[in-house]
Protein backbone atom coordinates (compact mmCIF):
# COMPACT_ATOMS: atom_id res chain seq x y z
CA UNK A 1 0.00 0.00 0.00
CA UNK A 2 1.34 3.37 -0.96
CA UNK A 3 0.99 6.08 1.64
CA UNK A 4 1.56 9.65 0.62
CA UNK A 5 1.99 12.55 3.00
CA UNK A 6 -1.62 13.59 2.60
CA UNK A 7 -2.95 10.14 3.39
CA UNK A 8 -0.70 9.81 6.40
CA UNK A 9 -1.85 13.13 7.80
CA UNK A 10 -5.48 12.18 7.23
CA UNK A 11 -5.13 8.90 9.12
CA UNK A 12 -3.09 10.57 11.84
CA UNK A 13 -5.69 13.32 12.24
CA UNK A 14 -8.53 10.80 12.42
CA UNK A 15 -6.61 8.88 15.05
CA UNK A 16 -6.20 11.98 17.22
CA UNK A 17 -9.90 12.79 16.81
CA UNK A 18 -10.68 9.27 17.99
CA UNK A 19 -8.74 9.86 21.18
CA UNK A 20 -10.57 13.11 21.77
CA UNK A 21 -13.93 11.44 21.25
CA UNK A 22 -13.25 8.62 23.69
CA UNK A 23 -14.12 10.35 26.96
CA UNK A 24 -17.42 11.47 25.46
CA UNK A 25 -18.23 7.95 24.27
CA UNK A 26 -17.19 6.60 27.66
CA UNK A 27 -19.55 8.82 29.53
CA UNK A 28 -22.46 8.23 27.20
CA UNK A 29 -22.11 4.46 27.25
CA UNK A 30 -21.41 4.10 30.93
CA UNK A 31 -24.30 3.65 33.30
CA UNK A 32 -24.17 4.90 36.86
CA UNK A 33 -20.74 5.20 38.36
CA UNK A 34 -19.83 2.43 40.72
CA UNK A 35 -20.33 3.79 44.21
CA UNK A 36 -17.47 3.23 46.64
CA UNK A 37 -18.85 0.63 49.01
CA UNK A 38 -19.11 2.14 52.47
CA UNK A 39 -17.52 0.35 55.38
CA UNK A 40 -20.15 -0.79 57.93
CA UNK A 41 -20.84 1.76 60.68
CA UNK A 42 -19.04 4.57 58.90
CA UNK A 43 -21.20 5.83 56.09
CA UNK A 44 -24.24 3.60 55.77
CA UNK A 45 -27.53 4.94 57.01
CA UNK A 46 -26.25 8.37 57.95
CA UNK A 47 -27.39 11.88 57.18
CA UNK A 48 -25.43 14.53 58.99
CA UNK A 49 -27.12 17.81 59.82
CA UNK A 50 -26.71 20.74 62.20
CA UNK A 51 -29.06 22.89 64.24
CA UNK A 52 -28.11 26.43 65.21
CA UNK A 53 -29.87 27.88 68.24
CA UNK A 54 -29.56 31.57 67.48
CA UNK A 55 -30.80 32.73 70.90
CA UNK A 56 -28.07 30.78 72.69
CA UNK A 57 -25.34 32.22 70.49
CA UNK A 58 -23.37 34.84 72.44
CA UNK A 59 -22.77 38.10 70.61
CA UNK A 60 -19.12 38.88 69.98
CA UNK A 61 -18.04 35.28 70.60
CA UNK A 62 -15.87 33.79 67.85
CA UNK A 63 -15.02 30.42 69.39
CA UNK A 64 -16.54 28.27 66.63
CA UNK A 65 -14.90 30.33 63.89
CA UNK A 66 -11.47 30.27 65.51
CA UNK A 67 -11.69 26.53 66.18
CA UNK A 68 -12.73 25.68 62.62
CA UNK A 69 -10.27 27.97 60.91
CA UNK A 70 -7.29 26.82 62.95
CA UNK A 71 -8.09 23.10 62.60
CA UNK A 72 -8.54 23.42 58.85
CA UNK A 73 -5.62 25.74 58.07
CA UNK A 74 -7.93 28.44 56.77
CA UNK A 75 -5.76 31.46 55.93
CA UNK A 76 -6.44 34.97 57.19
CA UNK A 77 -5.74 37.20 54.20
CA UNK A 78 -6.99 40.31 55.93
CA UNK A 79 -9.03 41.78 53.08
CA UNK A 80 -12.57 41.12 51.85
CA UNK A 81 -11.46 40.62 48.22
CA UNK A 82 -9.21 37.58 48.75
CA UNK A 83 -11.02 36.35 51.87
CA UNK A 84 -11.29 32.60 52.54
CA UNK A 85 -13.80 31.49 55.16
CA UNK A 86 -15.57 28.29 56.17
CA UNK A 87 -17.78 29.51 58.99
CA UNK A 88 -18.60 33.09 59.91
CA UNK A 89 -21.45 35.31 61.05
CA UNK A 90 -23.85 37.52 59.14
CA UNK A 91 -26.67 39.67 60.43
CA UNK A 92 -30.04 37.93 60.78
CA UNK A 93 -31.74 40.21 58.27
CA UNK A 94 -29.08 39.53 55.63
CA UNK A 95 -29.40 35.76 55.77
CA UNK A 96 -33.17 35.70 56.25
CA UNK A 97 -34.24 38.78 54.22
CA UNK A 98 -37.66 37.23 53.66
CA UNK A 99 -38.28 37.24 57.44
CA UNK A 100 -37.29 40.84 57.95
CA UNK A 101 -39.65 43.29 59.56
CA UNK A 102 -38.96 46.70 61.00
CA UNK A 103 -39.61 45.96 64.69
CA UNK A 104 -37.83 42.65 64.92
CA UNK A 105 -35.14 43.05 67.57
CA UNK A 106 -33.12 40.24 66.03
CA UNK A 107 -32.55 42.17 62.77
CA UNK A 108 -28.93 43.02 63.44
CA UNK A 109 -28.07 39.90 65.44
CA UNK A 110 -25.10 37.99 64.02
CA UNK A 111 -25.97 34.46 63.00
CA UNK A 112 -23.53 31.65 62.22
CA UNK A 113 -23.41 30.62 58.56
CA UNK A 114 -21.53 27.79 56.86
CA UNK A 115 -21.96 25.34 53.98
CA UNK A 116 -25.50 23.93 54.10
CA UNK A 117 -24.45 20.49 52.85
CA UNK A 118 -27.53 20.53 50.64
CA UNK A 119 -29.52 17.44 49.78
CA UNK A 120 -29.61 18.70 46.20
CA UNK A 121 -26.48 20.82 45.90
CA UNK A 122 -26.25 23.13 42.84
CA UNK A 123 -22.46 23.30 43.25
CA UNK A 124 -22.16 19.56 42.64
CA UNK A 125 -24.45 19.75 39.63
CA UNK A 126 -22.40 22.46 37.90
CA UNK A 127 -18.86 21.21 38.67
CA UNK A 128 -17.30 20.14 35.33
CA UNK A 129 -14.83 17.69 36.91
CA UNK A 130 -16.74 16.19 39.87
CA UNK A 131 -14.16 17.89 42.11
CA UNK A 132 -17.04 18.74 44.41
CA UNK A 133 -19.32 15.84 45.22
CA UNK A 134 -21.89 14.59 47.72
CA UNK A 135 -21.20 11.59 49.88
CA UNK A 136 -23.90 9.11 50.80
CA UNK A 137 -23.94 10.53 54.35
CA UNK A 138 -24.88 13.92 52.89
CA UNK A 139 -21.56 15.69 53.25
CA UNK A 140 -20.69 17.86 50.24
CA UNK A 141 -16.95 17.60 49.78
CA UNK A 142 -14.11 19.08 47.76
CA UNK A 143 -11.26 17.30 46.03
CA UNK A 144 -8.54 19.96 46.13
CA UNK A 145 -6.43 17.96 43.71
CA UNK A 146 -9.03 17.78 41.00
CA UNK A 147 -10.49 21.28 41.16
CA UNK A 148 -9.54 23.36 38.11
CA UNK A 149 -10.59 26.65 39.72
CA UNK A 150 -13.34 27.54 37.22
CA UNK A 151 -15.50 28.90 40.07
CA UNK A 152 -18.78 27.70 38.52
CA UNK A 153 -19.59 26.31 41.99
CA UNK A 154 -19.09 29.74 43.56
CA UNK A 155 -21.57 31.23 41.10
CA UNK A 156 -24.00 28.36 41.70
CA UNK A 157 -23.97 28.33 45.51
CA UNK A 158 -26.99 30.34 46.70
CA UNK A 159 -25.43 30.79 50.14
CA UNK A 160 -22.01 32.29 49.32
CA UNK A 161 -20.38 29.41 51.17
CA UNK A 162 -17.41 28.91 48.86
CA UNK A 163 -14.05 30.63 48.64
CA UNK A 164 -11.32 30.50 46.02
CA UNK A 165 -7.68 30.68 46.99
CA UNK A 166 -6.96 33.83 44.99
CA UNK A 167 -3.30 33.51 45.99
CA UNK A 168 -1.02 31.11 47.84
CA UNK A 169 -2.76 30.72 51.24
CA UNK A 170 0.16 29.17 53.14
CA UNK A 171 1.96 32.35 54.23
CA UNK A 172 -1.32 33.55 55.76
CA UNK A 173 -1.93 30.57 58.04
CA UNK A 174 -0.98 31.58 61.56
CA UNK A 175 -0.08 28.10 62.77
CA UNK A 176 -0.23 25.16 60.37
CA UNK A 177 -2.06 22.11 61.68
CA UNK A 178 -0.06 19.18 60.26
CA UNK A 179 -3.10 16.88 60.61
CA UNK A 180 -5.00 18.64 57.85
CA UNK A 181 -3.83 19.52 54.32
CA UNK A 182 -3.13 23.10 53.35
CA UNK A 183 -4.43 24.21 49.97
CA UNK A 184 -2.73 25.61 46.93
CA UNK A 185 -3.68 28.75 44.98
CA UNK A 186 -6.44 28.49 42.41
CA UNK A 187 -8.68 25.91 44.11
CA UNK A 188 -12.05 26.37 45.78
CA UNK A 189 -12.67 25.35 49.39
CA UNK A 190 -15.44 25.36 51.97
CA UNK A 191 -16.69 23.70 55.16
CA UNK A 192 -16.45 19.89 55.03
CA UNK A 193 -18.52 19.19 58.19
CA UNK A 194 -15.23 17.99 59.74
CA UNK A 195 -15.30 14.78 57.77
CA UNK A 196 -11.79 14.00 59.02
CA UNK A 197 -12.93 14.26 62.65
CA UNK A 198 -16.12 12.27 62.05
CA UNK A 199 -13.96 9.45 60.72
CA UNK A 200 -12.25 9.35 64.11
CA UNK A 201 -15.56 9.46 65.97
CA UNK A 202 -15.23 13.15 66.94
CA UNK A 203 -17.88 15.84 66.49
CA UNK A 204 -17.14 18.88 64.30
CA UNK A 205 -14.66 21.38 65.71
CA UNK A 206 -17.15 24.28 65.74
CA UNK A 207 -19.70 22.27 67.72
CA UNK A 208 -17.07 21.17 70.22
CA UNK A 209 -15.81 24.74 70.64
CA UNK A 210 -19.23 26.27 71.39
CA UNK A 211 -19.52 26.69 75.17
CA UNK A 212 -23.12 27.87 74.90
CA UNK A 213 -24.17 24.64 73.17
CA UNK A 214 -25.76 26.71 70.43
CA UNK A 215 -24.63 24.26 67.77
CA UNK A 216 -26.03 20.74 67.72
CA UNK A 217 -24.70 18.20 65.25
CA UNK A 218 -26.02 14.75 64.57
CA UNK A 219 -27.30 11.98 62.38
CA UNK A 220 -30.85 12.52 61.14
CA UNK A 221 -31.24 8.79 60.43
CA UNK A 222 -30.56 7.79 64.05
CA UNK A 223 -33.92 7.56 65.82
CA UNK A 224 -32.80 8.75 69.26
CA UNK A 225 -30.48 11.51 68.08
CA UNK A 226 -30.58 14.84 69.91
CA UNK A 227 -30.85 16.72 66.62
CA UNK A 228 -33.98 14.74 65.70
CA UNK A 229 -35.59 15.77 69.00
CA UNK A 230 -34.65 19.42 68.42
CA UNK A 231 -36.10 19.43 64.91
CA UNK A 232 -39.25 17.71 66.20
CA UNK A 233 -39.89 20.03 69.13
CA UNK A 234 -38.86 23.43 67.72
CA UNK A 235 -39.89 25.70 64.90
CA UNK A 236 -36.84 25.78 62.67
CA UNK A 237 -36.09 27.70 59.50
CA UNK A 238 -33.53 27.16 56.79
CA UNK A 239 -31.83 29.51 54.36
CA UNK A 240 -33.66 29.89 51.02
CA UNK A 241 -35.28 26.42 51.09
CA UNK A 242 -37.61 27.38 48.20
CA UNK A 243 -34.66 27.03 45.83
CA UNK A 244 -35.02 23.28 46.20
CA UNK A 245 -31.52 22.79 47.52
CA UNK A 246 -32.54 21.03 50.73
CA UNK A 247 -30.17 22.82 53.11
CA UNK A 248 -29.19 20.81 56.20
CA UNK A 249 -28.39 23.65 58.60
CA UNK A 250 -31.51 24.29 60.68
CA UNK A 251 -31.93 27.57 62.57
CA UNK A 252 -33.97 28.03 65.74
CA UNK A 253 -34.56 31.77 65.85
Amino acid sequence: MKTDRRGFLKIGGLGILGFAARPLVDVLLRGDLVEASPAPDTLAGKRWAMAVNVSKCKEGCRDCIVACHSVHNVPDLGNPKDEVKWIWTESYKKIFPEQEQEFDARGGKPVVVLCNHCDNPPCVRVCPTKATFKRSDGIVMMDYHRCIGCRFCMAACPYGSRSLNWRDPRPFIKKINPEFPTRTRGVVEKCDFCVERLAKGLIPACVEACKEKALVFGNLKESGAEIREILRANHTIRRRPWLGTGPQIYYIV
Binding site: P80, I148, G149, A155, N165, R167, T184, R185
Partner: protein, 385 residues
Protein backbone atom coordinates in the same frame (compact mmCIF):
# COMPACT_ATOMS: atom_id res chain seq x y z
CA UNK B 1 -2.75 27.98 1.07
CA UNK B 2 -1.02 28.76 4.34
CA UNK B 3 1.97 30.18 2.46
CA UNK B 4 -0.17 33.16 1.44
CA UNK B 5 -0.01 34.37 5.02
CA UNK B 6 3.77 34.63 4.82
CA UNK B 7 4.02 37.08 1.94
CA UNK B 8 2.42 40.46 2.33
CA UNK B 9 2.79 44.19 2.20
CA UNK B 10 4.64 46.34 4.73
CA UNK B 11 1.30 47.29 6.29
CA UNK B 12 0.47 43.62 6.77
CA UNK B 13 3.78 42.86 8.45
CA UNK B 14 3.34 46.01 10.55
CA UNK B 15 -0.09 44.89 11.76
CA UNK B 16 1.17 41.38 12.54
CA UNK B 17 4.13 42.80 14.49
CA UNK B 18 1.90 45.16 16.46
CA UNK B 19 -0.43 42.31 17.38
CA UNK B 20 2.51 40.12 18.37
CA UNK B 21 3.78 42.85 20.70
CA UNK B 22 0.38 43.11 22.43
CA UNK B 23 0.20 39.32 22.69
CA UNK B 24 3.69 39.32 24.21
CA UNK B 25 2.67 41.89 26.82
CA UNK B 26 -0.45 39.87 27.65
CA UNK B 27 1.57 36.69 27.91
CA UNK B 28 4.08 38.32 30.25
CA UNK B 29 1.31 39.31 32.65
CA UNK B 30 -0.31 35.90 32.26
CA UNK B 31 2.92 34.34 33.52
CA UNK B 32 2.73 36.69 36.50
CA UNK B 33 -0.86 35.59 37.07
CA UNK B 34 0.26 31.96 36.94
CA UNK B 35 2.84 32.48 39.67
CA UNK B 36 0.78 34.79 41.90
CA UNK B 37 -2.69 33.36 41.35
CA UNK B 38 -5.97 34.90 40.20
CA UNK B 39 -5.69 37.41 43.04
CA UNK B 40 -3.75 39.53 40.56
CA UNK B 41 -7.13 40.34 38.98
CA UNK B 42 -9.93 42.44 40.45
CA UNK B 43 -12.09 39.38 41.04
CA UNK B 44 -13.14 38.65 44.59
CA UNK B 45 -14.99 36.22 46.82
CA UNK B 46 -18.22 38.04 45.96
CA UNK B 47 -17.65 38.83 42.28
CA UNK B 48 -15.92 35.59 41.35
CA UNK B 49 -16.12 36.03 37.57
CA UNK B 50 -14.73 39.14 35.89
CA UNK B 51 -13.35 40.47 32.66
CA UNK B 52 -12.24 37.09 31.28
CA UNK B 53 -15.64 35.42 31.56
CA UNK B 54 -17.41 38.56 30.33
CA UNK B 55 -15.23 38.57 27.20
CA UNK B 56 -15.85 34.87 26.69
CA UNK B 57 -19.60 35.39 26.97
CA UNK B 58 -19.58 38.33 24.57
CA UNK B 59 -17.32 36.63 22.00
CA UNK B 60 -19.52 33.54 21.81
CA UNK B 61 -22.01 36.03 20.39
CA UNK B 62 -19.58 37.44 17.84
CA UNK B 63 -19.11 33.91 16.51
CA UNK B 64 -22.67 34.19 15.16
CA UNK B 65 -21.17 36.13 12.26
CA UNK B 66 -20.85 32.81 10.44
CA UNK B 67 -24.38 31.48 10.70
CA UNK B 68 -25.93 34.79 9.64
CA UNK B 69 -24.24 34.53 6.23
CA UNK B 70 -24.17 30.75 5.91
CA UNK B 71 -27.90 30.32 6.51
CA UNK B 72 -29.15 32.73 3.80
CA UNK B 73 -26.52 31.52 1.34
CA UNK B 74 -26.86 27.76 1.71
CA UNK B 75 -30.49 27.38 2.80
CA UNK B 76 -32.09 30.20 0.79
CA UNK B 77 -29.57 30.29 -2.07
CA UNK B 78 -29.01 33.99 -1.38
CA UNK B 79 -26.13 34.34 -3.84
CA UNK B 80 -24.99 37.79 -2.72
CA UNK B 81 -23.59 36.30 0.50
CA UNK B 82 -21.50 33.80 -1.50
CA UNK B 83 -18.55 36.15 -1.55
CA UNK B 84 -18.49 36.79 2.19
CA UNK B 85 -19.38 33.42 3.76
CA UNK B 86 -15.66 32.81 4.16
CA UNK B 87 -15.25 36.14 6.00
CA UNK B 88 -18.08 35.21 8.35
CA UNK B 89 -16.70 31.74 9.00
CA UNK B 90 -13.15 32.91 9.66
CA UNK B 91 -14.43 35.64 11.99
CA UNK B 92 -16.24 32.89 13.89
CA UNK B 93 -13.03 30.86 14.07
CA UNK B 94 -11.13 33.80 15.57
CA UNK B 95 -13.97 34.54 18.04
CA UNK B 96 -14.26 30.98 19.29
CA UNK B 97 -10.47 30.74 19.61
CA UNK B 98 -10.62 33.82 21.85
CA UNK B 99 -13.51 32.31 23.85
CA UNK B 100 -11.52 29.18 24.61
CA UNK B 101 -8.40 31.17 25.51
CA UNK B 102 -10.40 33.38 27.87
CA UNK B 103 -11.72 30.30 29.67
CA UNK B 104 -8.17 28.97 30.11
CA UNK B 105 -6.99 32.38 31.33
CA UNK B 106 -9.79 32.34 33.90
CA UNK B 107 -8.90 28.96 35.43
CA UNK B 108 -7.28 28.92 38.85
CA UNK B 109 -5.45 25.71 37.92
CA UNK B 110 -5.03 25.81 34.13
CA UNK B 111 -2.63 22.85 34.18
CA UNK B 112 -5.60 20.73 35.23
CA UNK B 113 -7.88 21.89 32.40
CA UNK B 114 -7.92 18.42 30.90
CA UNK B 115 -9.70 17.13 34.00
CA UNK B 116 -12.82 18.23 32.12
CA UNK B 117 -12.05 15.46 29.60
CA UNK B 118 -10.70 12.96 32.11
CA UNK B 119 -13.78 13.19 34.32
CA UNK B 120 -16.52 14.18 31.87
CA UNK B 121 -19.59 15.39 33.76
CA UNK B 122 -22.74 15.70 31.66
CA UNK B 123 -24.64 17.48 34.44
CA UNK B 124 -22.25 20.42 34.12
CA UNK B 125 -23.13 23.02 31.51
CA UNK B 126 -19.44 23.92 31.28
CA UNK B 127 -18.77 20.41 29.97
CA UNK B 128 -21.33 20.90 27.20
CA UNK B 129 -20.00 24.35 26.45
CA UNK B 130 -16.58 22.82 25.88
CA UNK B 131 -18.15 20.28 23.50
CA UNK B 132 -20.16 22.79 21.46
CA UNK B 133 -17.45 25.48 21.30
CA UNK B 134 -14.73 23.11 20.16
CA UNK B 135 -17.17 21.55 17.72
CA UNK B 136 -18.10 24.92 16.27
CA UNK B 137 -14.44 25.88 15.97
CA UNK B 138 -13.64 22.67 14.13
CA UNK B 139 -16.71 22.93 11.86
CA UNK B 140 -15.87 26.46 10.76
CA UNK B 141 -12.18 25.73 10.17
CA UNK B 142 -12.97 22.65 8.08
CA UNK B 143 -15.82 24.23 6.13
CA UNK B 144 -14.08 27.56 5.52
CA UNK B 145 -10.79 26.00 4.52
CA UNK B 146 -12.30 23.34 2.23
CA UNK B 147 -14.63 25.71 0.41
CA UNK B 148 -11.84 28.25 -0.06
CA UNK B 149 -9.45 25.59 -1.36
CA UNK B 150 -12.03 24.44 -3.94
CA UNK B 151 -12.73 28.02 -4.93
CA UNK B 152 -9.05 28.52 -5.53
CA UNK B 153 -8.97 25.55 -7.89
CA UNK B 154 -12.24 26.72 -9.51
CA UNK B 155 -13.96 23.43 -8.69
CA UNK B 156 -17.19 22.92 -6.72
CA UNK B 157 -16.60 22.05 -3.05
CA UNK B 158 -16.50 18.31 -2.26
CA UNK B 159 -19.86 16.69 -1.51
CA UNK B 160 -18.94 15.72 2.08
CA UNK B 161 -18.70 19.34 3.15
CA UNK B 162 -22.42 20.02 2.48
CA UNK B 163 -23.73 18.02 5.49
CA UNK B 164 -21.16 19.77 7.68
CA UNK B 165 -22.42 23.17 6.49
CA UNK B 166 -26.01 22.21 7.29
CA UNK B 167 -24.87 20.91 10.69
CA UNK B 168 -23.06 24.17 11.43
CA UNK B 169 -26.37 26.09 11.37
CA UNK B 170 -28.11 24.44 14.34
CA UNK B 171 -24.67 24.09 15.94
CA UNK B 172 -24.37 27.89 15.93
CA UNK B 173 -27.67 28.10 17.83
CA UNK B 174 -26.30 25.59 20.33
CA UNK B 175 -23.24 27.64 21.29
CA UNK B 176 -25.36 30.64 22.31
CA UNK B 177 -27.96 28.50 24.02
CA UNK B 178 -25.49 26.44 26.02
CA UNK B 179 -23.53 29.55 27.03
CA UNK B 180 -26.78 31.14 28.20
CA UNK B 181 -27.57 27.98 30.19
CA UNK B 182 -24.38 28.50 32.22
CA UNK B 183 -26.19 31.45 33.76
CA UNK B 184 -29.87 30.64 33.38
CA UNK B 185 -29.64 27.31 35.22
CA UNK B 186 -28.33 28.66 38.52
CA UNK B 187 -31.04 28.69 41.21
CA UNK B 188 -29.75 31.39 43.55
CA UNK B 189 -28.95 34.30 41.22
CA UNK B 190 -32.11 36.21 40.44
CA UNK B 191 -30.47 38.28 37.71
CA UNK B 192 -29.74 35.25 35.56
CA UNK B 193 -32.65 33.01 36.48
CA UNK B 194 -34.76 33.82 33.46
CA UNK B 195 -35.89 31.61 30.60
CA UNK B 196 -35.38 34.46 28.15
CA UNK B 197 -31.62 34.29 28.67
CA UNK B 198 -30.96 32.05 25.64
CA UNK B 199 -33.16 34.08 23.26
CA UNK B 200 -31.44 37.22 24.54
CA UNK B 201 -28.06 35.67 23.81
CA UNK B 202 -29.18 34.75 20.30
CA UNK B 203 -30.61 38.18 19.54
CA UNK B 204 -27.56 40.08 20.73
CA UNK B 205 -25.27 37.61 18.97
CA UNK B 206 -27.07 38.09 15.66
CA UNK B 207 -26.46 41.81 16.09
CA UNK B 208 -22.86 41.94 17.35
CA UNK B 209 -21.48 39.24 15.02
CA UNK B 210 -22.78 40.70 11.73
CA UNK B 211 -21.97 44.26 12.94
CA UNK B 212 -18.31 43.33 13.28
CA UNK B 213 -18.51 41.47 9.98
CA UNK B 214 -19.72 44.65 8.25
CA UNK B 215 -16.76 46.54 9.71
CA UNK B 216 -14.43 43.79 8.52
CA UNK B 217 -15.94 44.02 5.01
CA UNK B 218 -15.23 47.77 4.97
CA UNK B 219 -11.64 47.17 6.11
CA UNK B 220 -11.07 44.43 3.53
CA UNK B 221 -12.45 46.63 0.76
CA UNK B 222 -10.34 49.59 1.86
CA UNK B 223 -7.03 47.74 2.06
CA UNK B 224 -7.29 45.00 -0.59
CA UNK B 225 -8.58 44.51 -4.12
CA UNK B 226 -11.36 42.21 -2.90
CA UNK B 227 -14.80 43.83 -2.79
CA UNK B 228 -17.40 42.00 -0.68
CA UNK B 229 -20.11 43.93 -2.51
CA UNK B 230 -22.35 46.83 -1.53
CA UNK B 231 -25.48 44.72 -1.59
CA UNK B 232 -24.03 42.07 0.75
CA UNK B 233 -23.12 44.76 3.27
CA UNK B 234 -26.61 46.30 3.01
CA UNK B 235 -28.23 42.90 3.61
CA UNK B 236 -26.05 42.38 6.65
CA UNK B 237 -27.08 45.83 7.89
CA UNK B 238 -30.73 44.78 7.72
CA UNK B 239 -29.95 41.66 9.73
CA UNK B 240 -28.22 43.81 12.36
CA UNK B 241 -31.22 46.17 12.42
CA UNK B 242 -33.68 43.35 13.14
CA UNK B 243 -31.37 41.73 15.68
CA UNK B 244 -30.73 44.96 17.63
CA UNK B 245 -34.46 45.62 17.68
CA UNK B 246 -35.23 42.16 19.05
CA UNK B 247 -32.34 42.39 21.51
CA UNK B 248 -33.55 45.72 22.92
CA UNK B 249 -37.09 44.34 23.07
CA UNK B 250 -35.93 41.33 25.11
CA UNK B 251 -34.07 43.53 27.58
CA UNK B 252 -37.19 45.67 27.99
CA UNK B 253 -39.20 42.50 28.70
CA UNK B 254 -36.81 41.66 31.52
CA UNK B 255 -37.03 45.18 32.89
CA UNK B 256 -40.84 45.08 32.88
CA UNK B 257 -41.01 41.74 34.67
CA UNK B 258 -38.59 42.63 37.46
CA UNK B 259 -39.79 46.17 38.12
CA UNK B 260 -43.50 45.43 37.87
CA UNK B 261 -43.40 42.24 39.93
CA UNK B 262 -41.03 43.91 42.41
CA UNK B 263 -39.59 40.62 43.62
CA UNK B 264 -36.49 41.81 45.48
CA UNK B 265 -34.22 38.90 44.52
CA UNK B 266 -34.68 39.76 40.85
CA UNK B 267 -35.10 43.52 41.09
CA UNK B 268 -32.08 44.38 43.26
CA UNK B 269 -29.61 43.47 40.52
CA UNK B 270 -31.33 45.70 37.97
CA UNK B 271 -31.44 48.50 40.54
CA UNK B 272 -27.71 48.17 41.07
CA UNK B 273 -27.04 48.08 37.32
CA UNK B 274 -29.16 51.08 36.32
CA UNK B 275 -29.17 53.26 39.43
CA UNK B 276 -26.47 51.99 41.77
CA UNK B 277 -26.91 50.68 45.30
CA UNK B 278 -25.68 51.89 48.69
CA UNK B 279 -23.52 54.45 46.94
CA UNK B 280 -21.90 51.90 44.64
CA UNK B 281 -22.51 52.80 41.02
CA UNK B 282 -19.53 51.76 38.89
CA UNK B 283 -21.67 50.10 36.22
CA UNK B 284 -24.29 52.87 36.00
CA UNK B 285 -22.53 55.15 33.44
CA UNK B 286 -21.62 52.09 31.37
CA UNK B 287 -25.11 50.66 31.13
CA UNK B 288 -26.69 54.01 30.25
CA UNK B 289 -24.04 54.48 27.55
CA UNK B 290 -24.99 51.06 26.23
CA UNK B 291 -28.69 51.94 26.29
CA UNK B 292 -28.18 55.25 24.48
CA UNK B 293 -25.93 53.64 21.85
CA UNK B 294 -28.50 50.90 21.29
CA UNK B 295 -31.37 53.36 20.76
CA UNK B 296 -29.22 55.59 18.56
CA UNK B 297 -28.06 52.72 16.37
CA UNK B 298 -31.61 51.44 16.13
CA UNK B 299 -32.74 54.79 14.72
CA UNK B 300 -29.84 54.91 12.26
CA UNK B 301 -30.37 51.30 11.15
CA UNK B 302 -34.13 51.43 10.69
CA UNK B 303 -34.00 54.66 8.68
CA UNK B 304 -33.06 53.51 5.12
CA UNK B 305 -31.39 56.85 4.32
CA UNK B 306 -28.84 56.57 7.11
CA UNK B 307 -28.45 52.82 6.70
CA UNK B 308 -27.50 53.17 3.02
CA UNK B 309 -24.82 55.79 3.69
CA UNK B 310 -21.78 53.62 4.28
CA UNK B 311 -19.94 56.15 6.44
CA UNK B 312 -22.89 56.35 8.83
CA UNK B 313 -23.40 52.58 8.68
CA UNK B 314 -19.80 52.00 9.77
CA UNK B 315 -20.25 54.33 12.75
CA UNK B 316 -23.54 52.62 13.59
CA UNK B 317 -21.88 49.20 13.57
CA UNK B 318 -19.22 50.49 15.98
CA UNK B 319 -22.07 51.74 18.20
CA UNK B 320 -23.89 48.38 18.06
CA UNK B 321 -20.70 46.52 18.88
CA UNK B 322 -19.83 48.83 21.79
CA UNK B 323 -23.38 48.79 23.13
CA UNK B 324 -23.56 45.01 23.19
CA UNK B 325 -20.02 44.69 24.53
CA UNK B 326 -21.15 46.67 27.54
CA UNK B 327 -24.57 45.06 27.86
CA UNK B 328 -23.46 41.46 27.51
CA UNK B 329 -19.80 41.83 28.37
CA UNK B 330 -19.96 43.92 31.53
CA UNK B 331 -23.58 44.17 32.56
CA UNK B 332 -24.82 40.64 32.22
CA UNK B 333 -22.07 38.76 34.02
CA UNK B 334 -20.90 41.14 36.74
CA UNK B 335 -24.35 42.34 37.82
CA UNK B 336 -25.33 38.74 38.55
CA UNK B 337 -22.94 38.81 41.51
CA UNK B 338 -24.07 42.17 42.92
CA UNK B 339 -25.60 42.16 45.45
CA UNK B 340 -24.15 38.87 46.68
CA UNK B 341 -26.32 36.03 48.03
CA UNK B 342 -25.58 37.48 51.47
CA UNK B 343 -26.89 40.89 50.44
CA UNK B 344 -23.48 42.52 50.25
CA UNK B 345 -22.69 45.10 47.57
CA UNK B 346 -19.04 44.50 46.74
CA UNK B 347 -18.00 46.08 43.47
CA UNK B 348 -15.62 44.84 40.83
CA UNK B 349 -13.13 46.67 38.67
CA UNK B 350 -10.39 44.97 36.67
CA UNK B 351 -6.73 45.50 37.52
CA UNK B 352 -4.00 46.60 35.10
CA UNK B 353 -2.53 43.12 34.57
CA UNK B 354 -6.04 41.75 34.01
CA UNK B 355 -6.74 44.37 31.33
CA UNK B 356 -3.42 43.69 29.57
CA UNK B 357 -4.01 39.93 29.58
CA UNK B 358 -7.46 40.61 28.13
CA UNK B 359 -6.01 42.85 25.42
CA UNK B 360 -3.39 40.17 24.69
CA UNK B 361 -6.11 37.59 24.06
CA UNK B 362 -8.03 40.01 21.83
CA UNK B 363 -4.78 40.61 19.92
CA UNK B 364 -4.34 36.86 19.56
CA UNK B 365 -7.84 36.63 18.09
CA UNK B 366 -7.14 39.46 15.71
CA UNK B 367 -3.86 37.84 14.68
CA UNK B 368 -5.73 34.65 13.80
CA UNK B 369 -8.29 36.77 11.98
CA UNK B 370 -5.61 38.75 10.12
CA UNK B 371 -3.84 35.62 8.94
CA UNK B 372 -7.04 33.84 7.89
CA UNK B 373 -8.36 36.95 6.11
CA UNK B 374 -5.00 37.44 4.40
CA UNK B 375 -5.24 33.92 3.00
CA UNK B 376 -8.90 34.27 2.01
CA UNK B 377 -8.47 37.68 0.40
CA UNK B 378 -5.33 36.67 -1.52
CA UNK B 379 -7.19 33.66 -2.93
CA UNK B 380 -10.17 35.86 -3.89
CA UNK B 381 -7.84 38.39 -5.55
CA UNK B 382 -6.16 35.62 -7.55
CA UNK B 383 -9.50 34.30 -8.78
CA UNK B 384 -10.69 37.70 -9.95
CA UNK B 385 -7.52 38.45 -11.93
Amino acid sequence: MLEKALIGSKKYYGLVTLLLIIIGAGFYFYLRQLSYGLGITGMSRDVSWGLYITQFTFLVGVAASAVMVVLPYYLHNYKIFGKITILGEFLAVASVAMCLTFIIADLGQPARAFNVLLYPTPTSILFWDMVVLNGYLLLNIVIGWTVLASERKSVPPPAWVKPLIYLSIPWAVSIHTVTAFIYAGIPGRGFWLTAIMAPRFLASAFASGPALLILMCFIVRRFTRFDPGKEAIQSLAKIVAYAVAVSVFFVLLEIFTVFYSQIPEHMHHFEYLFFGMEGHEKLVPWIWTSAILAILSLILLINPVTRRKEGILAMTCVAVFASLWIEKGLGLVITGFIPSPLGRVFEYSPTGPEVIITLGIWAMGFLILTILYKIAVTVKEEIST
